[in-house]
């Protein structure tokens, strides 16, 4: 794949802080390598802005290798942009064409208020995790490996659910701003394993209650979350969450 250079028009959401109203500002970037990531293209743009004495665009990022869940950005109407199973930091500019206009917005949800520009406050997810996303552990020496037998299927499903990086793309893509895919991944991961059994019922009850209290919408099973999830978490987890919640309420 040979490197090419792109000239692009960017329409970026700028917002000073949580209180002030924001608006779109149009920027031009030139000579963008197709080998750059989307965030590196933003680094180039920010350098231009700094050199001109303007305020650089605030955006979330950390590991830049697709595992931390910090980067976000709603790119041309898609969470994390047009590529499937990809975070914004792993999205390469070769996915775009020379002369493209790209609109970049922050996640939009009342539970994810904008802090600045493209940065949103995702602590609602932290509150959900602290409501039940943990297990009780024995004190004393570490257990021997393989002391707790786990069926292979359960281990695989738990592992697939545990791949959730909590980026919030599911909420961003859902027309209802529902956090069901996130919560279902966290509940599934622990409900499937023997270590998660002690808090199994209280976990699902408390996490769903916190999810509702945080103001996320309800799930209408459109499947948009699964399609946009950078870790391709399955909506089968949402069915499991519904099941776990139903059973916990029947007890």
């Amino acid at each position: 794949m040979s490197e090419k250079k792109l000239n692009l028009t960017l329409k970026v959401w700028r917002q000073k802080n949580a209180k002030e109203a924001g608006n779109f500002i149009t920027y031009k970037v030139t000579d963008i390598s197709t080998d750059m990531s989307f965030l590196e293209m933003f680094d180039v743009l920010n350098e231009q802005l700094i050199n001109k004495g303007e305020e650089p665009i605030a955006f979330d990022h950390d590991c830049r290798e697709g595992i931390c869940g910090m980067c976000s950005m709603y790119i041309n109407g898609r969470a994390h942009g047009p590529a499937q199973g990809t975070t914004t930091c792993q999205l390469h500019m070769r996915k775009f064409k020379d002369g493209d206009t790209i609109t970049v917005e922050p996640w939009r949800a009342s539970s994810f208020p904008v802090i600045k520009d493209l940065v949103v406050d995702r602590s609602a997810f932290d509150h959900i995790i602290s409501a039940g996303g943990f297990v009780s552990v024995n004190t004393g020496n570490a257990q021997d490996a393989n002391n707790l037998p786990v069926p292979k299927n359960d281990a695989d499903n738990a592992f697939a659910a545990a791949a959730c990086i909590g980026c919030g793309a599911c909420v961003a893509a859902c027309k209802n701003s529902s956090a069901m895919l996130f919560v279902s991944a966290k509940v599934s991961q622990l409900a499937l394993l023997p270590q998660g059994q002690i808090e199994r019922e209280t976990r699902v009850l408390n996490m769903v209650k916190t999810m509702d209290d945080e103001g996320f919408g309800s799930c209408t099973n459109t499947g948009a979350c699964e399609a946009e999830c950078p870790k391709e978490i399955s909506v089968e987890n949402i069915a499991r969450l519904n099941r776990e919640y139903l059973m916990a309420n029947l007890k």
């Binding site: 917005e105 769903v208 103001g215 209408t220 099973n221 949402i238």
Partner: protein, 220 residues
């Protein structure tokens, strides 16, 4: 129980259960009405309609049906209001077609169209057979009633457009109900989706054929 019913998941369970109940009603309604295709001047159909209109068990289920319908609508309204509140600022650009089907995102709109049709439909047949006839002492059979009402081309068009709305509403609703009740796994979900798609096409199609067949004189 209260905690369950006021949670977002509990409200969805109410939507799913009432939805499946309404689906079972569609099957019965469609089956009885399909008797007009005997093309026997409505003899079989009128007998079926007479049974459904006089049997005390069916009349009781009819009341439960209305309660189910009202619950389905009420819960949908509450959920939609909450969902709208969850995203006060909309996206300037949203490529929703890339990640979901339009009808799965338009259940409220499709449901509203079906409700508007339902009001007209109940006025046409249910009010006439249950009330008007009893007050006036009229002896028009439902079959004759259908002939009169479906002689108007615009009524036929309205009914058939409503059946298209119903088909798309079911296409998402059938599968969605099972997903909400937690019934999703690799073995059964493809079957549920297939049965759901077949149901969503066949039932509205048979319904849609009724006004058309009456209007065109295929059924006399």
């Amino acid at each position: 129980m209260n905690r369950f019913l006021t949670s977002s998941l509990g409200k969805k369970v109410v939507m799913a259960l009432t939805g499946l109940f309404l689906i079972s009603f569609l099957l019965v309604h469609c089956g009885i009405n399909a008797l007009i295709f005997y093309n026997d001047g409505g003899v079989n159909f009128n007998a079926g309609a007479e049974f459904m209109g006089t049997n005390p068990i069916i009349r009781t289920v009819e009341i439960i049906l209305f309660i189910g319908l009202v619950l389905h609508i009420y819960q949908a309204l509450i959920l939609t209001l909450g969902n709208n509140k969850a995203r006060p600022v909309k996206y300037a650009v949203n490529a929703a077609a890339e990640n979901s089907k339009w009808y799965s995102r338009s259940m409220g709109l499709l449901g509203t169209l079906i409700l508007m049709f339902l009001i007209i439909h109940l006025k046409h047949f249910w009010v006439t057979s249950r009330f008007t006839d009893q007050i006036t002492g009229g002896h028009t059979t439902l079959f004759d009633e259908m002939k009169v009402i479906f002689s108007e081309a615009w009524v036929v068009a309205l009914y058939d457009l409503a059946m298209i709305s119903l088909a798309y509403h079911l296409l998402h609703g059938f599968y969605s109900a099972f997903q909400t009740l937690g019934l999703n796994n690799k073995k059964y979900t493809p079957v549920i989706k297939l049965v759901g798609a077949a149901f969503s096409i066949i039932i509205p199609f048979v319904f849609a054929m009724m006004p058309l067949a009456m209007h065109m004189g295929w059924v006399k």
